[in-house]
């Protein structure tokens, strides 16, 4: 997994790419999140467009990011959820937990309304 980040309208957009499979991926994303929390950027969109595949550990990383952010008073939204990941969210019934949007713009916009 590779991770790039940018800021759009004051909201951090994290874009992991490749396969999210645990191991070093977990700490990569986790460290980034903690950096954001420390610099008081607690509204984050995770853009999943570049993610080819995600296993159960990868999903665990996403859940962990979600709870870490929520416990620190922040919020995480997903964007560009691929079919594969969407079906994973459906099976695990996490669709109701994660707020998923079709595009980054839409996800960023959703923060504005909230």
């Amino acid at each position: 997994m590779k991770l790039s980040d940018r800021t759009q309208d004051g909201i951090v957009v994290l874009s992991p790419s490749g396969k999210i499979m645990g191991g070093p991926d977990a700490s990569l994303l986790n460290d980034k999140l903690h950096q954001c929390i420390e610099s008081d950027q607690k509204k984050i969109v995770v853009d999943l467009a570049g993610v080819e595949w995600m296993n159960s550990t990868g999903l665990g990383i996403l859940i962990s990011s979600y709870t870490t952010l929520r416990n620190n008073g922040g919020e995480l939204k997903l964007a560009n959820v691929t079919d594969k990941i969407h079906s994973l969210l459906v099976i695990t019934k996490l669709v109701s937990v994660f707020e998923a949007h079709d595009s980054v713009d839409e996800a960023v916009g959703a923060f504005g309304q909230g």
């Binding site: 159960s56 859940i63 962990s64 099976i91 019934k93 996490l94």
Partner: protein
């Protein structure tokens, strides 16, 4: 005449040899006081016989009746007496350097004054009586000048009288000084001896002391005693005794140097001593033989004798070759096989290190070898400690407990850049704010010896000064550099050995864990009148993160669980063991399915971090009513295949277990009819991947089960496993795979 000539040659040879020795020793390590002083001492000792030889030559050519000591040039030979103060200073720095502990070390050189005075008096004031007449004042003279001058003149005359007395009796007076010096030196050497503790240094000191005692003893009897005390030896005996004294004294010194590393003289020079001795013997023998041969050849060959003698010399040289080798071998065998010879030290090192795998024992051996071979005072180990993942000063003789050193320590980073033994003084810039620096300073570390494999710094050895107080020679540093490489491989081997033991132990633990896991799974599916059940679980590693369970709840109810923990291996196994125990205890408390799942979720959320979760499906079959109540907690939907071929997905329930707190689970009930097939699986089956990274997919499972719905559960499980294996032949499967098939029995009517 010929005896005189032999004497002169012997004097020359021994004097020259001593001076050569002195130059060699001083040149090899001029920085060391011991080397300098020993060199000076030997040089002075060598000057004695050289001057004696010159004197003897001069005597041959002197006019009859003329005395040698009347030639003022010849008097310079007294300079050799500086040997005695050199000896005295030597006795203060050997075997232990006590010189440094003196309050004013430079004052020690005042001991040179008497001998220097002697030389000055002898060279520049040949006759004091003449001087006396110059300042003599007429006693009848009156007046102011006389009153002032008289006392001065008297003072001068007393001084000059004293000087002339000294001049006349100089041999006795300064001979007495020299005698006192000799005895003091022997006294100091003897008192220094008990301070030596190392066995090897003890031997070396013994040899040097015997050389000093023997040589000086003979010399005192032959020369000093005879000068100062009222006895006299025959002239021939005196010179023989002095020669023997000198040669044995020097011989002992050389032996101590080569055999017991008395001086830190490089190996090359130690070898050169040996070669010098060998060639001196050979040349001597050769000269004698050539001279003898001329005596034979001259009368026989007459004018042709010269030509023939050349042929003879060549012949002798050829003859000498085997003898040369032979002597060389003997001398080598005698001198070179020492404990400090690098090849021997390395041999010993390898032998002892190669068979040792216990890191603690290994450090002990390294420390022991360095202490005995190189006389290192103390050895400290700073090594990377796997336990704390930091470098640490390891506990040892002077270190009560481990001192962890931070990765950012300035001194540590400086040492990391080194690749050879380095003196601490060159690292003084990194002392500030460095814990390591402070520790090294506190323990009086002189030398650090980094140990590196191809890229990493395994750690380093910190060595204090040698027990002798001398510095490390370049020979020592070279040897330490080579030894550090050996230590690197020994330490690496030891670590790998410990790691492999650890791996074996872990493997045994995993095997035991697997057994426990197997014991936790139902040994056989329950035998029910209305259904036939089959289950199978295959972990991708020895232990897995899947589990299934059948629970007899009484009242004609049987619980079925299938679950999959995120991740694999031991962490996942621990998760499922915990989940399984919680489910059983919740159900035995009589809780409903939705309450049970909500409680289990809550407990796991609290017990583990949020990225660890379990997907789980729980169902309860009432064997009387054939009602099947279930809740699906984020698990792959089990398939309910009706006998007609219709498929229902059992998806009602809630999110995965253990990820988020406060989740609710919805319970649902379906009625099972005869020949209905329930198929439960984990994602190891649906996500089995072939080489083209294509998954087996839930759709394919569904199709397969529908087409095989007429088969009995056991054969359904077998055939789907085969089918998946044709898609992904990897064994064991890439992910834990668990499957359960439950089929309603057509043979028996349910009880109503």
């Amino acid at each position: 005449m010929s005896l005189e000539l032999a004497k002169i040659i012997l004097y020359f040879l021994s004097g020259g040899f001593l001076v050569f020795l002195a130059i060699t020793i001083t040149r090899d390590n001029f920085g060391y006081r011991l080397n300098r002083m020993t060199g000076a001492m030997l040089a002075c000792a060598g000057l004695g016989p050289l001057f004696m030889a010159l004197g003897a030559i001069a005597e041959q050519g002197l006019a009859p009746g003329m005395r040698l000591d009347q030639i003022s040039f010849y008097n310079i030979h007294y300079i050799w007496e500086l040997f005695f103060p050199c000896l005295l200073v030597f006795s203060w720095i050997y075997p232990i350097d006590r010189f440094r502990s003196f309050k004013h070390p430079r004052m020690a050189y005042l001991v040179f004054i008497p001998q220097i005075t002697h030389v000055i008096i002898i060279l520049f004031f040949p006759e004091f009586t003449k001087l006396l007449s110059i300042i003599e004042i007429d006693p009848t003279q009156e007046g102011v000048a006389a009153i002032v001058l008289k006392p001065i003149a008297r003072l001068f005359s007393w001084i000059l009288l004293l000087a002339s007395y000294v001049r006349t009796n100089h041999e006795v007076i300064f001979g007495a000084f020299n005698l006192i010096y000799v005895f003091s030196a022997i006294f100091f050497l003897e008192t220094g001896r008990p301070l030596v503790t190392s066995p090897r240094l003890k031997k070396q000191t013994e040899v040097v002391l015997w050389g000093t005692r023997f040589g000086l003893g003979l010399f005192v009897i032959a020369q000093l005693g005879a000068t100062v005390l009222p006895y006299e030896l025959p002239a021939g005996l005196t010179s023989v005794l002095i020669l023997v004294a000198m040669l044995t004294g020097a011989g002992f010194f050389i032996f101590a140097t080569i055999r017991h590393q008395f001086l830190d003289v490089r190996l090359v020079f130690r070898q050169s001593f040996v070669y010098t001795i060998t060639s001196a013997i050979l040349v001597g023998t050769y000269i004698v033989m050539v001279l003898q041969s001329r005596r034979f050849l001259d009368p026989i060959f007459g004018e042709q004798a010269e030509l023939v003698s050349y042929v003879f010399i060549v012949f002798i040289l050829l003859l000498f070759q085997p003898i040369n080798n032979w002597i060389d071998n003997i001398i080598r065998a005698l001198f070179m096989r020492t404990r400090t010879d690098p090849r021997n030290v390395m041999g010993r090192f390898s032998r002892q290190l190669i068979s040792q795998f216990d890191p603690g024992q290994l450090r002990k051996i390294i420390s022991e070898i360095l202490k005995t071979s190189l006389l290192v005072g103390q050895v400290y180990f700073v090594l990377f400690d796997d336990e704390v993942e930091e470098y640490a000063l390891l506990p040892g003789e002077d270190v009560p407990h481990r001192e962890v050193i931070g990765r950012d320590d300035l001194m540590l980073r400086a040492i990391n850049l080194l690749d050879r033994p380095t003196d601490m003084s060159t690292l003084s810039d990194y002392m500030e704010n460095s814990k390591l620096g402070a520790l090294l300073e506190k323990n009086k570390v002189r030398l650090v010896l980094p140990m590196k494999d191809s890229q990493h710094l395994l750690g380093f050895l910190a060595l204090t000064d040698k027990i002798t107080g001398y510095r490390y020679s370049s020979e020592d540093l070279n040897l330490l550099g080579v030894l550090s490489n050996q230590m690197v491989s020994a330490l690496t081997n030891a670590r790998l050995y410990v790691e492999s033991l650890e791996r074996i132990r872990l493997q045994e633990e995993v095997t035991m864990a697997r057994q426990i896991q197997l014991d936790l799974l139902p040994s056989a599916p329950p035998i029910l009148s209305c259904t036939e059940i089959h289950a199978q679980s295959t972990p991708s590693r020895t232990i897995g993160g899947d589990f299934y369970d059948f629970i007899d709840l009484g009242d004609d109810r049987v619980g079925v669980v299938i679950a999959d923990a995120s991740g694999k291996g031991m962490p996942a196994a621990l998760m499922i063991a915990q989940t399984q125990a919680m489910i059983r205890s919740e159900l035995h408390n009589g809780n409903s399915i939705s309450t049970m799942l909500a409680n289990v979720n809550q407990q796991i959320v609290q017990a583990t971090s949020s990225e660890k979760y379990v997907t789980l499906f729980y169902g309860e079959l009432n064997t009387r009513t054939h009602e099947f109540s279930y809740a699906n907690a984020g698990h792959n939907c089990p398939l309910l295949v009706r006998s007609c071929g219709d498929v229902e997905f059992l998806q009602k329930g809630g999110p995965i277990i253990g990820a988020l707190p406060g989740m609710q689970y919805e319970e649902s009930t379906v009625k099972l009819e005869t020949d209905d097939l329930l198929f439960l699986f984990t994602d190891g089956l649906s996500e089995a991947m072939n080489e083209r990274e294509e998954e087996y997919t839930e759709e394919r499972i569904c199709e397969f089960i529908v087409s095989h719905r007429d088969h009995d559960p056991e054969s359904i499980l077998r055939s789907i496993v085969e089918d998946v294996r044709t898609h992904d032949p990897s064994t064991p499967p890439q992910d834990d795979t668990t499957i359960i098939a439950l089929k309603m029995n057509n043979g028996l009517e349910p009880h109503v």
